[in-house]
């Protein structure tokens, strides 16, 4: 299966690792990605002008139509924006003719039934369930992960058709296939807080802190995201910003470099009693890691494409994990050779 690859605006400069991970993962799984010169999905414009948003999103739908491909995006916000556009352009004739007439000036035509998919759906739908499991082996065995769903793909369910909006399962299903252990946690469907970044920073950080605390308390070693913005939110270290009042000290511990260094040194050394090289460091490493964490430390965030890629044996470098300060991705602790 081949898709028109819609990375969205933030990947090239703000989160290039995500682009690298998606490209590497899709290449490894034989999912064809065709780069088209899309424009902004429109999401940031929705606060300013409905028409500018519809114009922007609609043009992307038309570009994919012209190429005869379905859109695949790794960003939940891009996904949601494009699905909303497909919805409103179908529901509202007036809007449709407005957008269509502007697109017609450059020879583009709005599709009747735009095809927009999120990376998770593609991984779930296009791959045989056994395929991921077979390729993954036990690399991620014992790793407890909190799947963060991201709002804009999930809701409103009648617009996005991503999964059951009140009880989704696709993310956990995929993570289980690659051997990780999703934990149940109360706030898994809540907002990461990024939409208020730079707008209401205090609130944005409070939302982020609530989720991290909940994930930690649920026993997660790792928070897993599948959205550019969510990842930016959770990965950002807020040195310059007021930490949420609840957890200032803890948040500082998570982002403190020395804390990470000790973890990184700690994890590879604990796999003493293994007789299957490469596969087993994880259970002990993860346990050790959990024990090594300073009391109350927040789980680091990783992109699903990276975790799944690690699961099927891609190297951290291929997945853009060279710069992420995550102790969990140390090659030796993942049993990755080379």
């Amino acid at each position: 299966m081949s898709y028109a690859y819609f990375p969205g605006c933030k990947i090239p400069h703000h989160l290039p690792a995500y682009g690298q991970a998606v490209t590497a993962l899709c290449a490894a799984l034989d999912i064809g990605l065709t780069p088209l010169e899309f424009n902004c999905c429109g999401e940031p414009l929705r606060h300013r002008s409905f028409e500018a948003w519809a114009q922007s999103a609609g043009r992307n739908l038309a570009l994919a139509q012209q190429a005869g491909l379905a859109i695949m995006t790794p960003c939940k916000c891009c996904f949601g924006s494009l699905k909303h556009a497909a919805y409103w352009l179908r529901e509202n004739r007036e809007l449709r003719s407005l957008v269509a007439s502007t697109l017609a000036e450059e020879g583009l035509v709005l599709p009747e039934e735009p095809q927009v998919l999120h990376l998770l759906t593609v991984l779930d739908r296009d791959l045989q369930p056994d395929e991921l499991a077979a390729r993954a082996g036990e690399r991620l065995c014992g790793l407890r992960v909190a799947a963060h769903y991201g709002c804009h793909a999930l809701r409103p369910g009648n617009v996005t058709n991503f999964d059951d909006p009140l009880n989704p399962s696709v993310f956990e299903r995929l993570l289980r296939r690659v051997g990780a252990m999703p934990v149940p946690w109360a706030l898994r469907l809540e907002c990461c807080g990024h939409p208020l970044r730079g707008k209401r920073d205090k609130l944005s950080l409070a939302l982020k802190a609530r989720k991290l605390i909940d994930a930690r308390d649920a026993g997660a070693h790792l928070l897993v995201t599948a959205c550019t913005y969510c990842q930016m939110q959770f990965a950002q270290q807020d040195e310059n910003q007021t930490s949420p009042p609840l957890d200032t000290a803890i948040a500082q511990q998570v982002t403190a470099p020395e804390a990470r260094d000790t973890q990184a040194q700690g994890s590879p050394t604990v796999d003493a009693n293994d007789d299957q090289p490469g596969a087993r460091p994880w259970p002990s490493a993860a346990t050790q890691l959990a024990e090594d964490q300073p009391q109350g430390a927040m789980p680091p965030a990783m992109l699903a494409a990276q975790l799944i890629g690690l699961g099927i044996g891609l190297s951290p470098e291929e997945l853009g994990l060279t710069e992420l300060p995550a102790p969990l991705v140390h090659p030796s602790s993942l049993g990755h050779e080379g």
Binding site: H13, L45, S49, E51, Q55, C151, L207
Partner: protein, 630 residues
Amino acid sequence: MIWGGMDFFDTGLALSLTALGLGLGAKALSWLRLTIAPGPPPGMAARLSALARSLVRNLAPHRAARWGRALVMDGLLQRRIAGNGVERWLMHLAIFAGFMGLLIMHGLDELTSERWFAGYAPALDPYQWLRNLFGVLTLGGLAVAVWRRRMLPRVRRTTGAQDWALIALLGGIMISGLGLEAAKIISPQVFDSMVEQYLGTDDEAEINDLRLLWSEEYGVIFLMPPPHSDEALAQGREAHEGSCVYCHSRPTSAFVSYPLAKTMAPLGDALNNLRADLLFYYLHVGLCFLGLALLPWGKFMHPLSAPLNLTLRQGRTSSDTGTKPPALAAVLRPLGLDACTHCGACSEHCSVAPAFLALGTPDILPSEKLSSLKRHAAARLRGPALRAFAEGSQICTECLRCTTLCPSGIDLQDLWMQSRTRLRETGPGEPHLVLAQRPLRDWAATFRSLPPARVEAARSVKLCDNRASFWGCIQCTTCTSVCPVVAASQAPARELDLTPQQIMNMLRMGLKEEALGAEMVWSCVTCYKCQENCPQGVRVADVLYELRTLAWARLREHPEAWAETGATAGTGHATGGERSVETGRDAWSAARGDHAARAMSRTADAPTIQPMPSTLAGTQPEPETKGDEA
């Protein structure tokens, strides 16, 4: 030039060189003074020493190889233009090669050709032929440029007066040059003055024989051409070979100007009487002087600044200026601004170009925003132009595409990110921040006083003004109880003004204006939990989106309602006093304080709306005014 107008030439050259020197000096000074990034700008001395340190470091062989390669590949061979399409590269290379060929071989011939080539004379082949070739190359490239700028919609929309001016100037120089050559070919006056200088005889018969030859084979149009005779022609050729042949090839090799001279022939006498050769000379040389004087300004500077910037960028297409020492980055940024050729490649591929089509603000397109940024950096941007720049700056999604594409290698990504951060300090802020500047009751009064925006009436989807949108609402508070913003708030009633279900209720009652400025509307994270969970199918989150667009549409059409006024620093008062947007930094930090004060003041009367202008009681300063840190 050995002929005519010496005073004109010397004076013009001196004047234009002076203008050039002064202009370049001003530019260099501006690189040390202009401010693009937020925070205190590095001083001139700091910038100079950073630049000097960087230059010294870059003399190391491995670094020199890198920038040397960039100079050749990107500057001379223009690899980065090729990245934007082969036809574009061919167009620019034709102009570049033609113009540089003429400049070096012909324009500066006293310094170049006369020293390099033994027996050089302008009217000898191959120089005569090459001049025509270079001229045609340039004109061909310019013709493609004109065609592109007129016929391609995406190029046309960013084409401005300066683009036409440069094309016209170059075209004018080329056409006047060819005209000059043709006018000299047919001119008997030029013939006579050459005879006087070089023939070494004043024997009228001999001159007449030479006239015959030059009339028949060299295209001179005499008022009374000598009668033809083979003998006279042979005599003339003998004289020609004695005196003229060292400097003159037959003009037939001037494959443009000679046919042009032939075409002019019917009007030849008239043109010669008018001294067309002198007119073309003044035009040609005058335009060259004009170009020289304009060289330091606008896109006229790109022949100097673009290669310089490309060399400094050393072939990189990513954004790295922000990682350099602040003083060095402070020099590189304005230098990058000056490297813009206004070719429009960035705007052709801009990710948010559709927003330009919908909103019509030129500054949404990077090529146009860059011009505004130049003026903003020099603190010369005010009023509507400043707001347009802010809008363009805020709408940019920082997708890096323009930076990757820019043929001049400008680190646009860095310019956009820095100037955007600076705008956040100085204002005008983006809608969310503008709306945080005043309490709800102030906004309610403002919105009531403003007529609906034009786009408000024209919009295709109208949820808020349609009471059917809220028909189902039974005020069950589900939306409020699932809202993560409400949950994260310590005291929703005073921090958020209204809860989602209260907003629905107000809209149901037709009190839209009272809700537009509610903090809940502007703190919405757009997670759609409210809408998903509403048992009655009310589009709560869509309505909040729409309220934001409506509020912004009104304020955008009526900037006088917000842009020129702001909160008084530190007091928490929202006043109507005049306040320049240039001092918006104070307004901004005050606004944050105001927000807290406003929240406090509302403990008593929240969340009811009092439709009266406010003088707030609460004057406590905000305990953590974040705006002051930066």
